[in-house]
């Protein structure tokens, strides 16, 4: 690692949404850190430009917060502004929660995401389903979370590539010109042995780590017929990749069992498979990548947001 000064400001607010919006928690964090060789010196010094940028961003997000009719909707607004290598980068995120469901939204998609969250949350899980007994259709870009775990994290760990369907491409496409160590970022081919280029950190006091930034899956000529009986995944709560066994665990928080014209909500379930099994399970895909509302990825105690985009995917685990 090379010498570089990094500065960061984070504003974090917890709002309860409803007929009126109530601000319950408000946090400001700022500091700078200097990396020399394998030593980091960090102190909570303010960066006036970042303070101003982040205040401007969070004011804009506050104005967008919806007033949903349902009680129990919360929004955690997190705006970070970072300075590295002369570049200033801001990132506004809104983590929406309702009942046991959550989404990570952006200012541009907040209204639509909130409506979708309420729609999904209006139905309770009523039946258990064996995810190996049915084909799975990954709606709303949720397949990106599957590929984040099965292709993205192995790439972070430098694990050897495996065989993936030839119609599938998955890249990490950082939305920032430089990373948190001031190095230029680049697109990485996650299926072809590429490693994510960006070193990222959750705060000024954290060690920069090689992390995913923005997972984008694309397909070419992989049409499929929608199975009459299928599971449709709507929301994924969390995922995990175990590097020692190269297995993934995916916690599906909302999914429907569809049989012809009828649809019943499944209780939350966990998909546990090897990454090879995930690759073998991919049967087809359709359409352009769709943004999945949110992955907050945790590694070494550092939580960072990772963009997630995937086309409609069909898998069949056996």
């Amino acid at each position: 690692m090379t010498g570089a000064t990094f500065a960061m400001v984070t504003r974090d607010e917890l709002w309860l949404l409803g007929a009126e919006r109530l601000l319950r928690e408000q946090r400001l964090s700022h500091g700078t850190s200097t990396l020399r060789g394998t030593e980091i010196a960090a102190i909570d010094a303010p960066d006036d430009r970042l303070l101003a940028e982040s205040e401007r961003e969070i004011e804009a997000v506050r104005a967008l917060l919806p007033c949903p009719p349902n009680p129990g909707v919360a929004a955690r607004v997190v705006v970070s502004a970072r300075r590295a290598g002369g570049e200033i980068m801001t990132e506004p995120l809104i983590a929406l929660s309702y009942r046991s469901l959550a989404m990570v939204s952006t200012p541009g998609t907040l209204t639509a995401d909130c409506q979708r969250l309420l729609r999904i949350g209006a139905t309770n899980g009523e039946i258990d389903g064996d995810y190996r007994a049915f084909p799975i259709v990954w709606r709303h870009g949720s397949g990106a979370v599957l590929l984040h775990e099965a292709a993205g994290h192995p790439a972070e760990h430098g694990h050897a590539p495996i065989d993936w369907p030839p119609w599938l491409a998955v890249h990490d496409e950082p939305p920032f010109p430089v990373d948190d160590t001031a190095r230029r970022t680049a697109v990485a081919d996650l299926l072809g042995g590429g490693r994510p280029s960006a070193m990222r950190r959750a705060s000024f006091a954290d060690v920069p780590l090689t992390r995913l930034s923005n997972v984008v899956a694309r397909q070419s000529s992989a049409p499929f017929e929608l199975p009459r009986r299928r599971i449709e995944v709507l929301l994924v709560d969390a995922g995990r990749y175990e590097p020692l066994t190269e297995t993934i665990s995916l916690y599906v928080s909302a999914a429907d069992l569809v049989e012809g014209e009828t649809s019943r909500r499944l209780r939350p379930f966990v998909i546990e498979e090897s990454r090879q099994a995930v690759a073998r399970a991919l049967q087809g895909a359709g359409g352009a990548p769709e943004r999945y509302p949110g992955v907050i990825c945790s590694a070494e105690g550092q939580e960072v947001a990772v963009g997630s985009h995937a086309p409609l995917l069909l898998t069949r685990f056996r």
Partner: protein
């Protein structure tokens, strides 16, 4: 009522090959249901911590973990902090080790509440001799660190024969003395950072049992492979000259010895050996 809490701290942390020094000061305000916190950069910072103790701990740990084992994660932290709430002033020091050691496709997790790291050498020695996985023995002795890892899972479970108590000592997140408390409601406040809203919980918890004599000769669980999932645990065990991994569901706690060490689980745990039925 408005409560204003101030903290300034200095830590040095070794994290997987990188040495991090952090100095910061902050202020947290609670006003009814509203909580806010900000840095307080005008506050004179505490002096930078010397890294000697941290690096000594790292060297000791690295010297006892060798092939076929490898260190997957090593975080050693040494910190000092000064706190202020109204008229109250207090200070504290913290030392923590978080270590994960890998042998083939297995991992043991070790969390220590001091920089001494006692016991790591014996765990590493046993882990290196690992033979494989076995069925859970019907009865097990849990080393204090394993009892400690299990303790947070016992809240709300109300296992027969045991109770959870708060052990007296130190001060809480609002500067009040931590007293001995035998049952909820827990009067003390947990505040691990000025950025975290304090909450009432049991601090420095110990598991108490009417039986405190542990049967010798039982297989002994000396470390956990992962955080417990409720009462289900993956454990590294020693039985005579044999070392194996097993998965147990703790169905009864037969005995708990007097606490002998403090561990950084939840809001702190004092733990001793325990005897359990699986």
């Amino acid at each position: 009522m408005i409560e204003v809490y101030r903290k300034r701290g200095s830590i040095v942390r070794y994290e997987n090959g990188v040495l991090v020094r952090v100095r910061e000061a902050g202020r947290a305000v609670e006003e009814g249901a509203f909580f806010r916190c900000t840095p307080a950069p005008g506050t004179a910072p505490l002096p930078e911590k010397d890294a000697g103790d941290v690096l000594d701990a790292v060297r000791r740990i690295e010297s006892v973990v060798s092939a076929p084992l490898r260190i997957e994660r090593l975080i050693v932290t040494d910190g000092s902090a000064e706190h202020e709430l109204g008229e109250r002033r207090w200070s504290d020091k913290t030392g923590r080790i978080h270590l994960s050691i890998v042998h083939r496709a297995w991992r043991v997790l070790i969390d220590e509440g001091s920089l001494e790291g006692g016991g790591i050498e014996s765990i590493a020695g046993a882990f290196a001799r690992l033979e494989g996985e076995r069925e859970a023995p019907p009865r097990l002795r849990l080393a204090p660190r394993v009892t400690a890892a299990l303790t947070p899972s016992l809240f709300g479970v109300d296992p027969p024969n045991v109770r959870l108590e708060q052990v007296a000592g130190g001060v809480d997140g609002k500067g009040e003395p931590i007293g001995a408390v035998a049952a909820p409601p827990w009067p003390n406040w947990y505040r691990p950072s000025y950025r975290v809203r304090p909450q009432r919980t049991a601090l420095n918890v110990a598991v108490r049992c009417s039986v405190s004599v542990i049967e010798e000769g039982l297989p002994q669980a000396i470390a956990v492979l992962e955080p417990p999932r409720g009462l289900d645990m993956r454990l590294l065990c020693v039985d005579g000259g044999h070392v194996f991994i097993t998965t147990v569901r703790v169905v009864r706690i037969e005995a708990v010895a007097e606490p002998s060490a403090w561990y950084p689980f939840a809001a702190g745990v004092w733990a001793g050996e325990a005897e359990v039925v699986s």
